[in-house]
Amino acid sequence: MDYHRTSIDDVAPGGESFPGRPAVDSNAAGHRSSPHSPAAMDAAAFHAASTRILTAINTVIDGKAEAAQLALTVLLAQGHLLLEDVPGVGKTLLAKTLARSIDCSVSRIQFTPDLLPSDVTGVSIYNQATRSFEFRHGAVFANIVIGDEINRASAKTQSALLECMEEHQVTVDGTSYRLDEPFMVVATQNPIEMEGTYPLPEAQRDRFMARISMGYPDRESEMEMLETHQASSPLARVSAVVTAAEVAAMIATVQQVYVSRSIKDYTVAVGRATRESKLLRLGASPRSMLQLLRAAKATAALEGRDFVLPDDVVSVAEAVLAHRIILDRKAASAGETPQSVIRAIIAKIPVTPDVAASPNGAGRPARNKASALAPAPAPQLPNPH
């Protein structure tokens, strides 16, 4: 099969089938009970659920609370997560722990150069008994899909996964198959300088809501790890602490977090600044603005608020934006990193322009009144029980 000339959609039906390849470990059998329009949770339940998940993760991975929180944020914001770091710092462990702590279907794809798109999406095979083609689900049919070392696969296979990520559906032989909700891809990748890797193109990196670098654990955490993880894998101790339905309800709650106009202004200002920055060759896409806001909403909900603060935007901006922008050559040689550029841009943008413009604060109430009269952009939360 010529990967360079054909795309996934061109794969002939019934051509080759690869059922049960060893790299694909699909336990995506049951747990597809996520409701289509789940009811939002109340604050206490939300808080309890999120605390349970984070505690579970923190028992497995020491000293990575921030990464854990961000992973949960991405899950609740319906995004996909890219974990990028050197081998052996616990990327896969984090992904697995997150998946395990939720009682939902999980599949793991170990990406290798010879992995085929149909391994990911599934394939139609001819059933002799029924004399018809039937679709064999690929590994992507799960609530949480762990794509391990995604940058080891060929571009074509990467694309197959990424299409699913964007559209939450799989199309094989002209038939579309809806993926389960919640659906989250947690991909890990080694830094692109490593041997035998196909770096993700910009367009595909853009599909991931956030990228997290795990980083090495600090001294105490590492000592702790050596102490506790010797005998057994800590993963074994993790059991599901929330159900998929609960996660869906949490997602619904996050969706109803209120975003005021000035937050939208601020978000747009950040995006525009990345596009106008002289240090950047490529700024943040409009899609990334949407994802930034969604991540901020999830952060706000995790903080126990039903409205977004600029702090929420700031706290996720680096993780959400840094992997999408491309540094200018000069900036790169000057030692800038995408993270440092994002930080510099954030440090320059006025948070609430009207406060900065009128030091007296005069005229503010009038403006607020005006915005209050405007139709509320976010839907009202249903009454909690």
């Binding site: 206490a44 609370a65 854990a68 126990g304 409205f307 702090d311 943008i349 007296n360 604060g361 607020n368």
Partner: protein, 866 residues
């Protein structure tokens, strides 16, 4: 091949742009297809140059009122030409357009009522134009600087400057001779240089220089490449050579001036009259006298023959109102009488009268007033219509002037003696009040001097003599130079004070001093202006009925002023307080008079070598006048005290005003916040918190989130020691100020970012913060009971303020209270707003210029290479 029209910019673009667009060099492609900012910058440069040079006219014309029409005219012409140029009109259309706009602007400014639609000239306009021009020519001929800016002269100046704008513009840009355009500017500067005693003046010079440099700069930036090819080459020696040349020129100028005689007296240092209409020498009063006297060559020569025993004074006009900044003759047009056949002095004295017949030939002397010996009884032989003033007996042309007049004057004067004058001590009656009116604002020194000098004198005559003798005493020096150098050349009461202090001046000062002092002593007085007795020419003139009479001549150097004092029954009596000028009349000569009659020594003080020997050298220090210094102190002291109090009040107000402003702002915000029992908007309270923090040195940053700022404030120590373990989190250990700041932040966040009508989601579970991330966690909303009156915004602000005050050092506290940075920075921000606009514009201009220059340079390079 397309036949797209080739758009050429600039006059010489045709030569460099090939006709075939397919072989068009890349240079042309990058050339901007419009003239861009060029015409506008050029027009500004020309306008600045001309309007700047016109600043020098201040002093030629009185005041500044004339400048606004001048300025608008210059702008109108310059920018209409720029508009045409921007529209790529041909050169001649640009010039014609400039001319047209000049005409329209002039019509609009000066003949609005007599034109079509307010700006289109009509035949009516022409009539008035003629009138205006006549007025202007009269002004130039007859008046002296600074002239009152009448419509005629201002219109003339506007027209000339408008034409100069067109000329300068044409020289600088289409003709490509920017350096030559300086001639046009120089033409403007010549006028004040010639006319004003202070020459051009700093303003005019700086204005002209700036404009000229702008023109040179603009032409350098914008001239099409071909023309500047030769001199745009980089030349490292350019500046050095320029400096050396300038230094040489400057040195040479400074040296030459000392070597060549006449530079300290010639036209330029002291000024002279501008005579564009020939050698006319008007003789309106006062300042022109000084200029006339300083004139190195006599102009306006008048010859006369008389049957009087000695050459008489020729009198033109009198000045009788001593009020105002500048004295001028009061024409009293309404009371003037027509015809000169019989002039009635209104004098019916019993004293023997002397009748004198004088034949005068005015030649080139041009003035509205006719010089005649006092007191004219009849004048015959005049051409044109003339009128005379019964009060002063000045004879003035109605529709003519004194140029080329030959006439015969019969004048009658009483035969006066000292004895007659001494007896004339009756109370004054029967003369117009204006001769008696004491001027307002007489400088103290004049009054005290007059009192001191006349102390002991009983009759008007003795008082007059005392004043005359005082002024003729050795303490006073006749000098044409010291008023110029001392800056009191001219007339007016303030000049008088300077004169009495410096004790040096010329006739106008002596005459006005005596006239004013006499009036202060109750003697009616006026200043007569005319000519001192001149020199005999040696020739004789035969006058009908008189035979051959000796001929005398006077010219501008004999111009003179003298006081006339009124004595009841005797009329107006001339005195001569000016030392070394004129002839002291016999009746005014006393034994006490130091020098007696003196001849008219014209040369003194004109040639420095002579002047020092001839001028009376005081052999003793002038006796200081009693009380001159002490009486003046009384009143001013009270005034000074008043001023002092005022200044202190002002200072207090100024110091308090930032504090007051701050208090006002706070009051307004808090009243806004607490409207509707605590349910008011949180934003004003938040702004107040920010400003409070600013005042105490924790200024918010624009890119800071409210929460971050609040946390920084709380941990900064400005509100007191932050409780250690709860970094950034309001906790029980926090002090009330910190809690209040957190609560204010919370309220503001909820208002600014929260739902317009909040649901119970957060309020019910505010403590649900997941405090694991580095993000600051919310202070719990549940901590704050909205209904608690002590939690009003005002109460919280008060808590924060108290906390800030308690933890600040004395210096910070004082600054926060008296010079709050939040107020001052606001003021500072608003202060340079206009300057920022200017600098932005300048920056943009510079950038445009640089770009244009780079473009030109590239083109030049390409042309060279190709």
């Amino acid at each position: 091949m397309t036949l797209a029209p080739q758009r050429n910019s600039g006059p010489d673009a045709g030569t460099s742009a090939p006709d075939d667009p397919t072989v068009q060099p890349p240079a042309m492609a990058s050339r901007p297809d419009g003239p861009g900012a060029q015409p506008w910058v050029m027009a500004s440069a020309v306008a600045v140059a001309v309007a700047g040079a016109a600043l020098g006219f201040n002093g030629v014309l009185r005041g500044w009122a004339w400048y606004s029409p001048v300025f608008t005219t210059v702008l109108a012409v310059a920018f209409s030409m720029a508009t045409l140029r921007a529209l790529r009109a041909p050169r001649w259309i640009v010039a014609a357009g400039g001319l047209a706009s000049l005409i329209l602007a002039l019509t609009f400014t000066f003949f609005r009522k007599y034109s079509i639609a307010g700006f289109i000239p009509s035949s009516d306009t022409m009539n008035y134009l003629e009138k205006f021009l006549r007025r202007a020519s009269e002004t130039v001929l007859a008046e002296s600087t600074p002239v009152a800016p009448n419509a005629g002269i201002v219109m003339l100046i506007c027209a000339v400057l408008g034409l100069l704008v067109i000329l300068v513009d044409a020289l600088a840009f289409p003709l490509g001779l920017p350096a030559t355009s300086g001639l046009g500017i120089l033409a403007i500067l010549v006028v004040p240089a010639m006319v004003k005693p202070q020459s051009v003046g700093v303003l005019g010079f700086v204005g002209a220089a700036v404009g000229y440099l702008m023109i040179l700069g603009c032409s350098h930036w914008f001239t099409p490449a071909a023309r500047t090819r030769a001199d745009t080459a980089r030349d490292p020696g350019q500046i050095r050579r320029g400096t050396v040349t300038a230094a040489l020129a400057l040195t040479l100028t400074l040296l030459l001036q000392t070597v060549i005689p006449g530079f300290d007296q010639g036209t330029f240092p002291q000024g002279s009259r501008l005579n564009p209409f020939g050698s006319a020498t008007g003789l309106n009063p006062m300042i022109s006298l000084g200029n006339s006297l300083r004139s190195p060559t006599g102009e306006g020569r008048i010859t006369f023959a008389t049957n009087a025993p000695a050459a008489p004074y020729l009198r033109s006009v009198t000045v009788d109102s001593f009020d105002g900044d500048s004295w001028a003759p009061d024409d009293r047009e309404s009371s003037r009488r027509q015809g000169t056949g019989r002039i009635d002095a209104g004098l019916d004295s019993t004293v023997t009268e002397v009748r004198v017949i004088t034949a005068v030939n005015t030649g080139q002397f041009t003035s509205p007033y006719l010089p005649a010996p006092y007191a004219p009884e009849s004048v015959s032989g005049l051409t044109g219509r003339w009128s005379w003033d019964p009060a002063t007996l000045s004879i003035k042309g109605v529709d003519t002037n004194s140029r080329d007049q030959q006439y015969l004057v019969t004048s009658v004067a009483p035969q006066l003696t000292a004895g007659l004058l001494r007896e004339a001590s009756r109370p004054v009656s029967g003369i117009p009040e204006q001769f008696l009116r004491q001027p307002a604002n007489v400088p103290e020194i004049v009054r005290t001097t007059a009192d001191a000098v006349t102390a002991g004198a009983t009759t008007p005559y003795t008082r007059a003599m005392a004043i005359q003798n005082y002024l003729r005493s050795a303490a006073f020096t006749y000098s044409l130079q010291s008023p110029v150098q001392g800056g009191y050349d001219g007339n007016g009461l303030s000049v008088l004070a300077d004169f009495l202090t410096q004790k040096s001046g010329y006739c106008i000062h002596f005459a006005s001093a005596m006239a004013v002092m006499a009036r202060l002593q109750g003697i009616p007085s006026r200043i007569a202006v005319g000519y001192a007795p001149g020199r005999s020419t040696g020739a004789t003139v035969s006058v009908a009925g008189q035979g051959a009479l000796p001929e005398f001549e006077v010219d501008s150097r004999d111009a003179h002023a003298w006081p006339e004092l009124y004595f009841p029954g005797l009329g107006w009596v001339p005195f001569e307080p000016t030392p070394s000028r004129g002839i002291v009349p016999a009746y005014a000569t006393e034994a006490a008079a130091p020098s007696g009659a003196s001849t008219n020594e014209r040369t003194d003080a004109l040639t420095p070598g002579d002047g020092s020997s001839r001028a009376p050298v005081p052999t003793f220090a002038p006796v200081p006048l009693p009380g001159a210094g002490t009486t003046t102190a009384a009143d001013p002291r009270a005034a000074q005290a008043l001023y002092g109090v005022g200044a202190v009040l002002l200072l207090v107000l100024l110091v308090a005003s930032p504090r007051l402003a701050r208090a006002r702002v706070r009051r307004r915000r808090l009243s806004m916040s607490d409207r509707g029992n605590g349910g008011g908007p949180a934003a004003p309270a938040w702004a107040e918190l920010r400003d409070l923090a600013t005042d105490y040195g924790v200024a918010p940053v624009a890119s800071e989130t409210p929460r971050h700022f609040s946390r920084r404030l709380r941990v900064s120590g400005a509100l007191g020691e932050p409780s250690g373990e709860s970094f950034g989190k309001p906790s029980g250990a926090d002090n009330p100020g910190q809690r209040a700041a957190a609560a204010l932040t919370e309220d503001f966040e909820r208002e600014q970012y929260g739902r317009p009508n909040p649901t119970a989601w957060t309020a019910g579970s505010g403590t649900a913060g997941v405090g694991t991330a580095g993000v600051g966690t919310a202070g719990s909303a549940g901590d704050i009971e909205p209904a608690d009156p002590s939690d009003s915004a005002a109460a919280r602000i008060a808590l924060v303020q108290a906390s800030l005050r308690a933890n600040a050092t004395l210096g910070v506290r004082l600054r926060a209270e008296w010079l709050p940075p939040s107020v001052l920075s606001g003021w500072r921000r608003s202060l340079p707003a206009p300057r920022q606009v200017l600098s932005r514009t300048a920056q943009r201009t510079r950038r445009g210029a640089t770009e244009a220059w780079g473009l030109i340079r590239n083109t030049v390079r390409r042309v060279r290479r190709g």
